[in-house]
Symmetry: C2
Subunit: 335 residues, 2 copies
Amino acid sequence: MSKPTIIDISKATGFSKSTISKALSDSKEISKKTKSIIVKYAKKINYKPNFYASHLRKSIVKNVAIIIPDILNYYFAKVLKGAQQEFFNRGYDLMCFFNEESVSKEKKILEKLKNGSIAGLMISPAKNPFSKKISEQLIEIQDYKIPIVMFDRIVGDFKCDKVFIDDFQSSFNIVKHLVSKGKRKIALVSPIHDTLIGKQRYDGYKEGLKVEKIDYDDDLYIPLNSGNTIQSEITKLASSKKIDSIICIEQHITVAIHSLLLNLNFNIPKDIAIVGFTDGPLFEYTKPSITSVNQHGEYIGKLSAKILIDRIENNNDLDFVEERVPTSLTIRKST
Amino acid sequence: MSKPTIIDISKATGFSKSTISKALSDSKEISKKTKSIIVKYAKKINYKPNFYASHLRKSIVKNVAIIIPDILNYYFAKVLKGAQQEFFNRGYDLMCFFNEESVSKEKKILEKLKNGSIAGLMISPAKNPFSKKISEQLIEIQDYKIPIVMFDRIVGDFKCDKVFIDDFQSSFNIVKHLVSKGKRKIALVSPIHDTLIGKQRYDGYKEGLKVEKIDYDDDLYIPLNSGNTIQSEITKLASSKKIDSIICIEQHITVAIHSLLLNLNFNIPKDIAIVGFTDGPLFEYTKPSITSVNQHGEYIGKLSAKILIDRIENNNDLDFVEERVPTSLTIRKST
DNA sequence: TTGTATGCGTTATCAA
DNA sequence: TTGATAACGCATACAA
């Protein structure tokens, strides 16, 4: 049996198309008796309004899209989960896309989204040294009055609502925590030193040192490029007792350093404490477990979704918001 | 500026609506010259066909939905990734839903999907002791000629295409692997002993023992209910040297057992070997790393998507397929 | 309270 | 090769 329409109900009950339509949307123009007949019959034949017809007519769309770099990244999975919950509860369908850190794939996705199937877009762009092209496409989307919320990875000069964690405060707080544990020779390992996020975490680290009256030592700041120099670098610093703690910005490298230190027979945290960044379970299962910055992915997802829905439904011209979400420190055995 | 339509192009170029429509779909009825004028102008004003109008008219839908228990589960994240890739490449949009192991949420999702917005559905149902209700809803969806592919968690008596891993073979192979490493006292820890999957892994384990001419010992089969008895159970078995290896079906419990054994000063794998199930990175980071069954989530996702698209586009009445995907063993230091 | 007529933007059929 | 017209299914302004 093919999908029933209003006309089927009309024929069966004897009422006109418009009466059916009004009754089904519970309009007060229609008498209770008529409504009940119509609704009962609609239920019986399992009538559902045709999605495309009604949206064409009303030109309101309860579809949104999200573009995420990588769903295998636990943080982004959490964001997606939070966003999905919020959208679902508010009656929106969520279409998912993953750019897999490929700018060209991202362009294809954005190209497709210009077909007008969505009412709003959440995006965390692919790492992209030449962010111009993508900005152009995003602007085209905005031209169609489709609001955009950018989360986590922010393109500085692009104008839209933004949600991101407070990177400055996160590393600032780590420094304070380490100092409270008696550490003062704190290294910072960063594989993303050339990004905005990396820069801000670096700044928070420096400010933390300053507040604690510790002199900044450039030798203890280790920006990683190819990623193959950590081993020797850390070994050198640790063996010469130049450091008593390490902050590492990327989770897998954090675990690698953790391993390395154990292999070198250092005691964690007595000799060297270690702190990383992740929302995932990885740090719970190392021995000793690793203290980490929690980025609250689910909350970021939920909040971004809320902001987006608000823009869609109120279509207001208020200034764009920039929500800086604080992180928290999950303290484990490594500090 | 609001979204341009065919009418805008018609007014600007002087051709009729239908000519525009045909030209834009590259119909051979239209002359090259006319086409080029129209296409050029369409590009200039950045015309995109209205999604809803065109789908209402053509009544073909390039939207599919996927329902997954939990996106934070690495395996399901991989499935989603694989499926998304396949759908995207074939021009389909993918709407994501997570049931979070809640039957009532799943019902809500299915209810919503009956609005006809999708051409097909991929689903791995929530754990559900009373699977009747959900089957009814799925049948309603099938009544609308919307094909369904069920993956991973199969509802036995529901009729549709199915994709799942070969659970029997996976545990069978583990036993063979352990025996090849000189192990013969093999325990099986299963927190899902009451599911079909758990049952099949158990059967594969028994068959493996049989083939290797090892007597089955019921003491070495440890079905977990509340999950708080493993510690003492494992301690007892390990200390009395009743076991020389452990197969564990759930990743977090695997790591817990791993920890426990190290704390009891057993050598892994010399004293006791250990094997788990996961697609995730967790087992790479323990010391020693843990041998694991790889469930090929991405492949499962891709394959399911392919099957679904095939059903949608060919709408054939061929018998339903049941794809049993083999697993593979990633051998690490724990065996 | 109910019914009639129209249009949302496309595409497909048929006529010119 | 192009254009007029109808139809997809629904929702609304207006008439009855």
